[in-house]
Amino acid sequence: MVEHRPWLTFLTHAILIFGMLLLVIPIYVTFVASSHSLDEITAHFSLLPGTQLVENYTSALSVGPRDVGATVGTMMLNSLIMALGITLGKIFISLLAAYAIVYFKFRFRMFFFWLIFITLMLPVEVRILPTYKVAADLKILDSYPGLILPLIASATATFLFRQFFMTVPDELCEAVKIDGGGPIRFFFDILLPMSRTSIAALFVILFIYGWNQYLWPLLITTDESYYTLLIGIKRMLDVGEGQAEWQIIMASTILAMIPPILIVIFMQKQFVKGMTETEK
């Protein structure tokens, strides 16, 4: 800006720093708590890191919380399988569907398009009971397909790819046809390599979406060996009259935040691109 207003510049930074602290403090307190013993936590611990950091994390990862029946290590693995399954599944089926809708003319094309479009309007939260019933009938409760499949249909990913395919010059497709190549060759040699950045952006957004799923895993997992980490944390909190193992809960909470936060920080460019493009 043209003018110089030192006061306003000071205020700007003050507000930003205050806002950042507000966003960071809950996470910082959790981190500090995860480095103290249970006795220290219940006796109002200091806000400096304690000495139990390594013990708490190793015991969470290898021994696991009491009364839950699975280690945090196993639950993290389940979360990872679910997140990757949802991410890759969504990208895979959306790429194919968008390819068909953009590059082929066939009966019911628009009907299929609208069918996919409708899924935008039906988040899992509004149809939980009947979806649960379908999963039960298919016998995929307490299984990885059960955690993944119902969540992989996505109109947004299909739209994003469709949008992108529309911008790919027709000449490329013509060139492949002149060379005698068919749709499969065009897809693998031209379209897929060109979609790399869109795929990367979607990957970031979808991984976070998948890792953070809560309601659906809560409904369909009763067997501890399929608990995802978020469900495990909720179970650790539900101790009734007993004393919650706060040091383990806090360590697990930090572990639950690490993968998506790392992805956002290290793939920030793709994250921002994914956010602004999928939401349009």
Partner: protein, 293 residues
């Protein structure tokens, strides 16, 4: 919007759309139609008998006091979350837009809470405000304010609103910042040469030009508050105390899975679907406007 060059193949396109269509039919269309179907039936909890009751389930839930309370709670909750998350993030975004030094650092540190799951955000804030061990609750007690959100409904609502808004600030910040950076600088420079103060410039130029972003975010925030905050509620309050935070999505879950009231839960699902559909329509009309204005 059609491609000029296309492939001709009889079978391939059907094979390509098949996975998506199968998943959609199986897990979206069929369950949704089941919800509509069940909402007009009365079924016992064991599924042994069902009778057609017309709109009786709807009539029942709209006279049910806990449901009306739940609608009221949802409105208060989503309005508060939207108002807080939007105003804080607009403030932060316009500051970050001004800041020349450290702009990237601020941006990184402000956007990453978006990666935190709502349920995890719930754990973070639940821990801070835990009546027996939370440090905020402790300090409040030292200053003479008794905090116990498991007994006091107003406090419980406050806590879930703060938690839900906390996470949404990052999301709004990202879009507001992008919107602010897209505003042509000459407008603002001209105004400042005319002697308009920064606050005046903000309200007369920046804010009106930002209105498409603001409108989009209002819709997205309401959707978030309605549907994605299940984890927050489930972790912190379980809808309590005394239904004070029993938002509609939580009630569908509770009635369907814990009380096994299938017809009532299905009727509530149908109402939620109508809400999502209207919000989606509103949002799409806005996108059309944005394209042509």
């Amino acid at each position: 919007m059609e491609k000029r060059v296309i492939f001709k193949h009889k079978l391939l396109p059907y094979i390509l759309v098949a996975p998506q269509i199968v998943i959609t039919l199986l897990f979206f269309i069929w369950p949704a139609s089941q919800a509509v179907y069940q909402s007009v039936l009365q079924e016992d909890a064991f599924g042994l008998s069902r009778t057609f009751v017309g709109l009786a389930n709807f009539a029942y839930i709209f006279t049910d006091e806990t449901y009306l309370r739940s609608i009221y709670v949802t409105i208060i909750f989503s309005c508060s979350v939207t108002a807080i998350a939007m105003s804080v993030s607009l403030l932060l975004a316009s500051m970050a837009d001004r800041a020349i030094r450290g702009a990237t650092t601020y941006k990184t540190l402000i956007i990453w809470p978006y990666a935190v799951a709502p349920a995890v955000a719930g754990v973070l804030w639940y821990f801070l405000f835990n009546p027996t061990i939370g440090i905020v609750a402790l300090y409040l007690k030292i200053y003479g304010y008794e905090w116990n959100h498991s007994l006091n409904g107003g406090q419980a609502m406050f806590l879930v609103v703060i938690t839900a808004a906390w996470r949404e600030i990052s999301y709004n910040f990202l879009f507001f910042l992008a919107g602010l950076q897209a505003i042509p600088k000459p407008f603002l420079e001209a105004a400042s040469i005319d002697g308009a103060s920064p606050f005046r410039r903000f309200w007369t130029i920046t804010f009106p030009l930002l209105s498409p972003t603001t409108f989009f975010l209002i819709v997205m925030n309401v959707v978030y508050a309605f549907f994605d905050t299940f984890g927050v509620i489930h972790v912190i309050t379980d809808g309590g105390p005394n239904y004070a935070t029993n938002i509609m999505v939580f009630k569908v879950y509770h009635d369907g899975f814990l009380s096994l009231d299938l017809g009532g839960s299905a009727a509530q699902s149908v109402i939620l679907m109508i809400i999502v559909i209207s919000l989606t329509v509103v949002q799409f009309r806005y996108i059309e406007r944005k394209v042509y204005y």
